[in-house]
């Protein structure tokens, strides 16, 4: 953009949407949401701080120690490559959480801009953009992600991109709906009358005010992405060795299910459920906290 000399750059919008603090206050009185948030913090701390305290060798295969049941030295046993399962859980968790968060950020960023453009443009453009969303929503999501990740050997970044590329649709719909109600508010009209560009209206007015909806959506998206990553890993189209994630770990547990190596299934399964549950509880609470603002 060329500089507009008459626009005073010092004018600051309030940093957070009005009612944000009220939403935080409501959050505090939401026990399930707090539990979800706390649980999530615990999982994150386990994955990222855990390796500082529980140092294990996760690089060298050690077949002499393969598939040991839980016991001294290995509280959760070892997997079939001889890696300590507890340490493996932390390492795989980092990867799963990273991909989940990245995919959700990709999806939400793109979906937000897409939805805001569609909602603000209206008319034919809006109709076309949203029919495209309808079409893509009708295509079985997992199929596409599977085809792409089977074709291009996945690393954490490409996997996040692929998942993100097919999960922005719901965000786009939500943000469009929000923008449709916001765009007729006085402050948007005022900005338009003062000659603000469409870009400025989207980024300075519409998106900050739709932030509540967006944040809730990110939280749900992370949960979904964690599940998709796990499903891909389970089906054998996830990350390739030596990188590991929770889904791949579960897949190796399946191979030995008849050998009754339960410690390869329940701990990692528990972590997947716990993480997704925590994220869903948190998202539900956030939705309540943000949603009640409207009444």
């Amino acid at each position: 953009m060329t500089a507009a000399p008459t626009t005073p750059e010092t004018v600051q919008l309030p940093p957070a949407p009005a009612g944000f603090r009220a939403a935080v206050r409501r959050m505090r009185h939401h026990p399930l949401g707090l539990a979800g948030g706390g649980l999530l913090l615990l999982v994150v701390a386990f994955c990222y701080l855990g390796p500082l305290f529980w140092k294990t060798n996760q690089t060298d295969v050690n077949l002499l120690d393969a598939a040991l049941p839980p016991g001294p030295g290995h509280p959760l046993g070892t997997d079939t490559n001889g890696f300590d399962v507890l340490g493996r859980l932390m390492e795989g968790g980092q990867v799963s959480l990273q991909i989940g968060l990245l995919a959700a950020l990709f999806a939400t960023t793109f979906g937000t801009v897409y939805g805001a453009v569609a909602g603000l443009a209206g008319g034919v453009v809006d109709g076309f953009l949203m029919r495209l969303v309808d079409v893509l929503l009708s295509v079985p999501f997992l199929f596409f992600v599977l085809i792409l990740s089977a074709r291009f050997h996945a690393n954490a970044w490409t996997l996040a991109l692929v998942i993100g590329a097919f999960s922005w649709l719901i965000s786009a719909r939500l943000v469009r709906g929000e923008v449709l109600t916001l765009r007729v508010r006085e402050y948007v009209l005022a900005a338009r009358v003062m000659g603000a560009s469409r870009r400025r209206i989207i980024f300075a007015h519409l998106i900050p005010n739709a932030m509540g909806v967006i944040i809730v959506n990110v939280t749900f998206q992370v949960a979904d992405a964690v599940l998709v990553v796990a499903a891909l890993g389970f089906l054998g189209f996830g990350l390739s060795y030596p990188t590991t994630d929770w889904g791949s770990q579960l897949a190796s547990g399946v191979t030995y299910i008849s050998a009754d190596y339960w410690w390869l299934i329940y701990p990692v399964g528990g972590f997947i459920v716990l993480t997704v549950l925590a994220l869903n509880l948190l998202a539900d609470a956030l939705r309540d906290a943000v949603g009640r603002k409207a009444d």
Binding site: R131, L132, D134, V135, L136, S138, V139, P140, F141, L142, F143, F144, L146, I147, L148, A150, R151, F152, A223, L227, A230, A231, F234, L235, F237, L250, G253, V254, I257, S258, D260, W262, I265, Y266, G269, I272, V273, L274, V276, L277, N280, L281
Partner: protein, 316 residues
């Protein structure tokens, strides 16, 4: 009603065209040329080019798309070069088994979730309600493959009640002929849906319970059982109809995982094997069919809802 159906039909056809275009172009983008696939990695570039020219794969992709559409309209889904078989035949061989599996799972889910949701709404905030909601949250967060694994570990390995593998017969009716071997796959498919359906059913039943017609029914002395079955049930099920329509992609994905976990040969397993073989004609056809089923499911759901609630038709 006819007008409403016609309008929805036109929209559905447009969405179908869109799906076919998106799926076709995306797969075209990621797949090797058919000549390379058929002749193998060691074939000379000339031979590959010759094959592609002979079969029309060197034409512009838009032209190829329209000729594929033309084939589709004649019922020709293409040919799997890897298996040297008609894709349509391949899908047909497996479709019945997958459909029966999904259907059995769906029916089981509805049979459990609808009464459960209504019970939860009637006894809201009771211990039963809270326990069911809590369980639904946990099950919703449990991916199907994990649930299936736990079921296998407990009911097959520990208790030895059900086999760990689904029936290997080729009949689509194994759900009825061999229920013992199909119990775990069907339950796995049903449980995730139960978690979703029951929560929907609960909130929709709660909405309806506050309505005047329920109070009237109660006030005129109708037994509670009749209030629930005759008045509440029909109205409280409406949102569920729409939900089932939109859940079809999820059901298909669920099939993919359950069929792979229990080694049940159906469309999902065919898709996964084709993925390993890089058999793109099969992948293309099945993804398309998934899209078609979704659109048809949404269409039927819309019509069913409109038929159950005539106000929708009047409003549009």
């Amino acid at each position: 009603m006819a007008w409403y159906v016609a309008k929805r039909l036109v929209v559905s056809v447009l969405v179908l065209l869109g799906i076919s275009a998106v799926v076709f172009f995306l797969l075209h983008l990621v797949s090797d040329s058919p000549g390379r696939v058929v002749l193998g990695q060691r074939a000379s570039p000339e031979a590959v080019a010759d094959f592609n020219h002979e079969h029309g794969f060197d034409r512009p992709v838009v032209v190829q798309y329209f000729s594929y559409l033309g084939q589709l309209l004649q019922g020709d889904l293409g040919r799997s070069y890897k298996l040297n078989q008609d894709v349509g035949t391949l899908l047909q061989q497996n479709a019945g088994r997958s459909a029966m599996l999904s259907l059995a799972g769906l029916v089981l889910a509805l049979l459990v979730a609808v009464p459960l949701g209504i019970l939860q709404a009637v006894k809201r905030n009771s211990v039963v309600d809270r326990a069911a909601t809590g369980l639904a949250y946990v099950l919703y967060a449990t991916p199907a493959f994990l649930l299936g694994l736990v079921l296998i570990a407990v009911f097959s390995q520990q208790l030895d009640l059900f086999p760990a593998e689904a029936s290997q017969s080729h009949s689509p009716w194994v759900v009825f002929t061999d229920p013992r071997s199909m119990a775990l796959p069907v339950i796995t498919i049903a449980v995730t849906s139960i978690a979703i359906f029951s929560q929907y059913q609960r909130s929709s039943a709660l909405d309806q319970l506050g309505q005047d017609y329920i109070r009237v029914a109660r006030a005129k002395g109708l037994p509670e059982r009749l209030v629930l079955t005759r008045h509440l049930l029909r109205n409280a099920c409406l949102p569920l109809i729409t939900l089932v329509g939109t859940m079809i992609p999820l059901l298909l994905a669920g099939n993919l995982i359950v069929e792979s976990l229990f080694n049940y040969s159906g469309l999902g397993l065919l898709f996964l094997n084709s993925l390993h073989r890089e058999d793109y004609p099969v992948l293309l056809a099945y993804t398309l069919i998934g899209g078609v089923l979704t659109v048809v499911g949404n269409f039927i759901a819309d019509i069913a809802v409109a038929m159950a609630d005539r106000r929708i038709e009047l409003a549009s």
